[in-house]
Symmetry: D2
Subunit: 348 residues, 4 copies
């Protein structure tokens, strides 16, 4: 049983992916992605997303996001995103570095979602300022968001319509895309290109893989020379089979959905349980695998003393306690959740 609700990065690799890695470990295989696993991955991704896409595996989410953004925004460009987006707060300036100077233009809101009207207004202001302002160049959406919420298809379409009107390609940071997909209950196609997304950072590391993400271009023209961009960034593995096989195992047989379903279900169970903890107040609707909850300061201390691991959340200000983030994963069990709730009730 685990008392670690700190992150979806602390889990081991899930069994099917570990098996896949062991399975490919035989014989001489062409390097740099010229292998059969990479080829099969492309085929599988195309089938699942019902699109003539191109998919580029990389090892980290920061690489996926930053490379994708560098592909669509010039050095003098502006990238619209939420002010608490991972690309703004947690990637140590990777987007600025990879783009060669583009600016992240953070838009505020309390639930992690950008409002279409606010995006429109921001672009209009930029256009008025002309050459002195960075050029509106891209829209980056996080799905599920940094606040554990999920854009509905309608919300996505409204946002991407604004982007399209101003000729901005749309990037989706899908570090937790599977969690959003399970919440939406729609097809991968509906959740992405059918809703106006041009490039997806498809995460797997937080959902059971060893280290595997992918940059997925639904618009092939946007992917021009991307393989060189990845190489120049040091993100082209030589023994590529070990990267592709993870994603293959992830997507085949719906492993990604199964893992995300478990994580989301455990988050829901946790949210329900928290309703019974005195002084606990949910900050956001729980739609994926992250719970943001205000807890009494004393309870936070006691839970930590009891061995529970989680982070306090610095991006909001509350007066009735401490804002805390709890993360559930594919590896979280009902027992783990019930243990947390039980202890929280006991200690509060």
């Amino acid at each position: 049983m685990s008392r670690n609700f700190g992150s979806d990065n602390v889990t081991p690799v899930c069994a099917p992916i570990m098996s896949a890695i062991n399975a490919v470990n035989t014989g001489m295989v062409a390097s740099y992605g010229e292998d059969e696993y990479t080829e099969r991955l492309s085929a599988v991704a195309r089938a699942i997303f019902e699109a003539d896409l191109v998919i580029y595996p990389v090892a980290t989410g920061t690489a996926a996001n930053a490379l994708a953004l560098a592909q669509i925004a010039p050095p003098y460009g502006g990238i619209y995103c939420h002010e608490t987006a991972h690309i703004v707060t947690d990637e140590c300036g990777a987007p600025e570095f990879f783009t060669g100077g583009a600016k992240l233009l953070g838009l505020p809101s309390s639930d992690g979602k950008i409002a279409a009207q606010r995006l429109e207004t921001a672009i209009d202001l930029a256009n008025e300022m002309g050459v002195h302002h960075v050029k509106p160049s891209a829209l980056s959406l996080t799905q599920s968001t940094e606040w554990g919420t999920v854009y509905s298809l309608e919300e996505l379409s409204a946002l991407t319509a604004v982007a399209r009107r101003h000729r901005l390609p749309v990037h989706m940071d899908g570090a937790r895309f599977a969690n959003a997909l399970v919440c939406l209950g729609c097809s991968p196609a509906a959740a992405t290109w059918k809703s106006g997304v041009d490039v997806l950072s498809l995460g797997a590391s937080k959902n059971g893989a060893l280290c595997a993400e992918a940059v997925v271009f639904f618009d092939r023209a946007l992917a021009e020379s991307f393989e060189r961009r990845r190489k120049q960034a040091g993100h082209l593995w030589s023994k590529f089979r070990y990267l592709s096989c993870q994603l293959l195992a992830y997507l085949e047989g719906e492993l990604w959905l199964a893992n995300a379903r478990q994580a989301n279900a455990m988050a829901g169970r946790l949210a329900l349980g928290l309703a019974k903890v005195a002084g606990a107040r949910l900050l956001q609707t729980v739609e994926a695998n992250e719970i943001f909850v205000v807890l009494p300061e004393r309870l936070v201390t006691c839970l930590r003393e009891a061995g529970f691991h989680f982070y306090t959340w610095p991006w909001c200000t509350v007066s009735d306690g401490i804002p805390v983030r709890l993360v559930t994963t594919y590896a979280t069990s009902e027992a783990d959740v019930d243990d947390f709730i039980h202890e929280a009730q006991r200690l509060s």
Copy 2:
């Protein structure tokens, strides 16, 4: 008589600087700054600032700021500044480009000044986040500020003390430094290095020069290899005498102060006059050569129809009219100001 209050960029070159340019236009002179004018400029700047400084002329304020910041902040660095700083809003991403990816961390306030406590809090948060957050690397202050206000020496010292405590070098964007200096009434040394400033972008273009700014390092160690950085950026003129002579004429004989005094005085006169205009409301104390004033929408229209030129200001929201920026310069006369006030009174 001029009805142009749009910017301090629209004026011609003031007579003493134009004379200086014509005066140096004779004979063969060593290029790339190996000339006597550049040498004299160094000597003059050292005397005026009472410091063993190094001074690097460049042609634009954006170049001065971006090169200075690139010198003190690494690609993975964060630069604290006001959220409406020129480097944030008006330089098309130059600091991000020149630093190779550093992030501008804009701090809010209504008067254009950063509060020391807010800076401290922001640095603390960054340090807590560790490697995921850009490294706190520099503080950039604008003097006079984007809102026409001027940091007092006490305010400066409080801010630079925070920076010093966290080992952040301090940059001052002095596009309108002379205007601030005249307002403060102190020595150039007191307004800069004695108040904790390490690098100054010293502006002249907005105050009478043709195209001349300078990066001034009070800490010589910070200037290491700066001449190569400038060269690589295409900002080393070949016929350097024409750049240095402008700054020489600007600083010698206190031309910079005389020009700024006129600009500030005209701003003060304008502010006084606006008190008599119905519906006009000053948004900020007028301390330098910029006036931010709310005017009735109809008056704005009428003034423009009467041939007055000025900008509306997008960086604030008011409900009682239109926020407008008026800029006075060395070339603004009392008659220009009185004309504006007279017409405004007549039209309102």
Copy 3:
């Protein structure tokens, strides 16, 4: 009389350009290139080059070259050029910096000209290596070359045909374009776009201007967002009239050709004279305003003691003396040349 044959950067501004600068120094004028002089410059350049071009003035040749190359080559690109090109040897890495990492692929030859066959071979090798090699992205030619030679129209066409076949845009570093044009005796159009050049760095600083170069795009599509790139690089002057007026005076009334004609004529006269100097051996055909000559070591010393200024040339190895570069300019007179030859004969 001048004994300075060191560079075309040491001259004063020629009279017509200085007059133009003084002439525009009156009244309030819109900044950042929204002025009538800049507009007229566009019209004049279009007429002279017989093309629907766009022209962007900047202050230095390094800026013109680096910005032009950044516009046409991605960070993962390779730029073919001569191994002694100014962009390789004398710009402190500006092209690498502005492009965000592109590689200059220097091709060798003894006369400063690239051979079409060598270019073809180099591109083929790159294509074979695939993703590990930078992407062949641009061809940059220097006209007149770093060795004082001039590509014929046939040579240009052969090279640009190779580039075109591989879809590489062609840049011309025309720091001394006027000198080449005078040598070729053809129209500006024939020497550029009609010979396959897409972007020209048009120099004026070495040929009489104060500080003025221009990036000229013959293919408008290539210029997309260039104004923001220039701004982000700090190369958009605020008082733009003072930049445009130089180029206007330069191009109008054929001043550029007159100045270049004088410089070239003096170079020719110098070359003829050197034939009479014992031990002097020309390294290259003299076609523009630079002479590369091997002089006996003792003569070099004596000439310098006599007050002559010139550079020895490190980019070649000879055994019969010292390789020396002599540069003539618009300001070089017959008396200057005759004085040099006379002294050289006397001292040798």
Copy 4:
């Protein structure tokens, strides 16, 4: 039995490293390198290299090299290296990109080794040229070299002494460091910091790992903020245990040396065998695990038809056949080698 002599990238992961990966796949473990495996790796590396070093694992050799170089060379810097260095020819501009514009200054030689005198001359020329030339900033040596040769300790010391005299930090690209070490038969300390190396890219991927390299700083001061540079580049894995455990298994129990010993021995056996193949001519002394050999064109064709895989080598010109590279690895057996020789003899 394998007929693949194409690269050391095509092998599977060696058994001990695969076991290590499986062994760590259990339980919740702190992410981003805050785990026990990473801590143990540091301890082990310090013991093996007898130095108070810091070690930063990354997934690819390109990342290791480019991040290391970015740490020691500024954007306006020049990095001396061999003209056929991997960083020059095979990393798609990664060093230029990561440094923000530094220039690779390739020095020629026929055996892949830089000569100390040539380095000295190149630095002197740069210093003479001053601000126009990139600043001599670093020396990068490849060990073993791109030509399969190995610098002796004396050669290393002579080169690093030149670097030291000019204050250039020294980087070693050790993609095949273990192969060189086995050849030298000295301690890891003697082969690196005791010979003047400041930063080592320590390769493991080509020698049995899945994807693991490490940047090793022997001078801790040089490593300042390197963790942020790695993060910003997207090279900080979240599930870091899977990276560290590879290197731990690699270094512990001398696996790295055992693997390299096998690869080198097989290269030696292959070289011996080639002496018996008609028309084969070794281009270089075989000191590590790469053989460069000229083979008759017909033999090359026949070997390929027989299913052997290897690359022709474009970086040299010969008239007596086709230059070919053969690579042996930890997984190459005596039978593999004998098979090749036997077939080559038969076919020639």
